[in-house]
């Protein structure tokens, strides 16, 4: 990358050397709460909070953290797509993020929306983007500092980079061509079987039919998280996705859920924690597939992991 460092800014912050993280395929994609506490405020680092609840950040956040909201900032509701390179660059400038900034993202609900934001950052090729293991819950439960003070980041000069949808994103036609190959449905068992059209306790809306894409394995996304919200260990995750489900790191895998947010979490696990080489997230997910004329579906418990 051809970026001139200014004011002695490091190009990238050091990797977290925590032994648990060291077992993952790409430990540079995660940081622990203690690593973050130690590096908070250093130049070259921007912490981003991304939550399901759009107001949670306002109630208190990690000092210096900026907020990125999927609904209002990463999503283009008119085209049902992500923002384009120009809008993403504008957003990054407003948040004080440069192209070579180390971005650490954390959020509520086991980092579910944080992983989604990380996936979108990856569509734009932002190189150094990491998740805080355990997310907001881990930070808060350790009694670490929170503040309601809003940072006022200095605008950066982020380039307009064209989004690359070819590597980590799958569209409906890609899924049709992939039928028979490994597919992971990360929704709840009730959504997978077709009994529910949305998560329990969430609106029963979005799709005309209930069920799953033929041949998909059911692995609810939250199985990758331990009780404390942190990711399960490498051994546990290998046993789940490799052992129980029978996936292999050299296969092309497509993951999906209802709109692609929960499956971003599983995409992160397979890609960065287990080192799978080709995982795509089908963000059209069930709201598109379940409503599509002639798209084949299966009902029932199917090939459950």
């Amino acid at each position: 990358m051809c970026v001139t460092a200014t004011k002695g800014d490091p190009v990238s912050l050091p990797q977290d050397s925590d032994p648990k993280l060291g077992a993952y395929a790409h430990p540079e994609r995660l940081v622990t709460t203690s690593w973050l506490a130690e590096h908070l405020g250093e130049p070259g680092l921007v912490v981003v909070e991304s939550d399901e609840d759009v107001l949670l950040y306002e109630t208190g956040h990690i000092p210096g953290a900026v907020k990125v909201d999927w609904h209002t900032e990463l999503n283009d509701p008119v085209t049902r797509d992500y923002v384009d390179g120009g809008r993403f660059a504008e957003l990054m400038r407003d948040k004080g993020i440069a192209r070579d900034t180390t971005v650490v993202i954390y959020g509520d609900k086991n980092n579910w929306w944080a992983a989604y934001a990380l996936w979108v950052f990856t569509l734009f090729g932002h190189e150094d983007v990491r998740l805080l293991d355990g997310g907001r819950t881990a930070w808060v439960s350790e009694g670490r500092p929170m503040t309601t003070d809003k940072p006022d980041p200095e605008p950066t000069d982020y380039p307009a980079v064209e989004r690359d949808d070819s590597r980590i994103r799958a569209f409906k036609d890609d899924v049709l061509a992939h039928l028979g190959g490994p597919l992971v449905d990360v929704r709840t068992p009730g959504e997978f079987s077709g009994e529910l059209l949305h998560m329990p306790d969430y609106p029963q809306e979005g799709a005309m039919r209930g069920g799953h894409i033929p041949g998909a394995a059911s692995v609810p996304w939250a199985r990758a998280a331990a009780e404390d919200g942190r990711f399960r260990t490498r051994v546990e995750l290998d046993a789940l996705y490799g052992g129980e489900v029978g996936l292999s790191p050299d296969e092309d895998v497509i993951v999906y859920c209802r709109i692609g947010e929960r499956s971003s979490h599983t995409w992160f696990v397979l890609t960065h924690l287990l080192g799978y080489g080709s995982v795509r997230n089908y963000d059209g997910s069930w709201t598109e597939w379940g409503n599509s004329v002639r798209a084949p579906i299966e009902k029932g418990a199917g090939r459950s992991a």
Binding site: E52, D53, L55, E58, T59, P77, D201, P203, Q204
Partner: protein, 148 residues
């Protein structure tokens, strides 16, 4: 849209500020939501869950026989939502501030799309606002049941 006076005041309050400030205002309503009265604590069966909200929200509606000064019946609203769901709490806070104490007829006359008048679509997203419309629909249904 004809709105009862307290709800219309809230709409004006939101209209007077920028979309970003609307979020702050919503947070104020979230903080101001009254706690669930003792008699409802621990009795989820007496409350109705609003499944359309992103986070668990429970509500109860009471219509007391002879209300305040005027002496007619008045609607009272009670909500239970966790602190980690400030948006959902904010929606509940607005409905409480805008409707609690009104005569049933005024609550029932509130248009179903009244939450859209708050101009929160841009700040919160239309998808999230559906939770508030669902709360209102359930409140109105319960008022109707209590008054039939």
């Amino acid at each position: 849209m004809s709105l009862p006076a307290p709800f219309a005041e809230i709409v004006e309050e939101f209209a007077a500020v920028t979309p970003r400030q609307r979020l702050e205002l919503l947070l104020d309503y979230s903080s101001d939501l009254p706690a669930l009265p003792e008699r409802y604590v621990g009795s989820r069966d007496a409350l109705e869950q609003v499944h359309e909200c992103q986070s668990p929200l429970f509500l109860a509606v009471e219509v007391d026989g002879d209300g305040a000064a005027g002496g007619g019946p008045a609607v009272h609203l009670f909500f239970d939502a966790p602190a980690e769901a400030p948006t959902t709490r904010g929606f509940a806070g607005i409905l409480h501030a805008g409707l609690d104490g009104l005569p049933p007829a005024e609550v029932l006359a509130l248009p179903d799309e009244a939450p859209l008048a708050l101009g929160l679509g841009e700040a919160v997203s239309p998808l999230r606002l559906r939770g508030m419309q669902a709360m209102l629909a359930r409140i109105k249904r319960q008022v109707r049941e209590r008054c039939s």
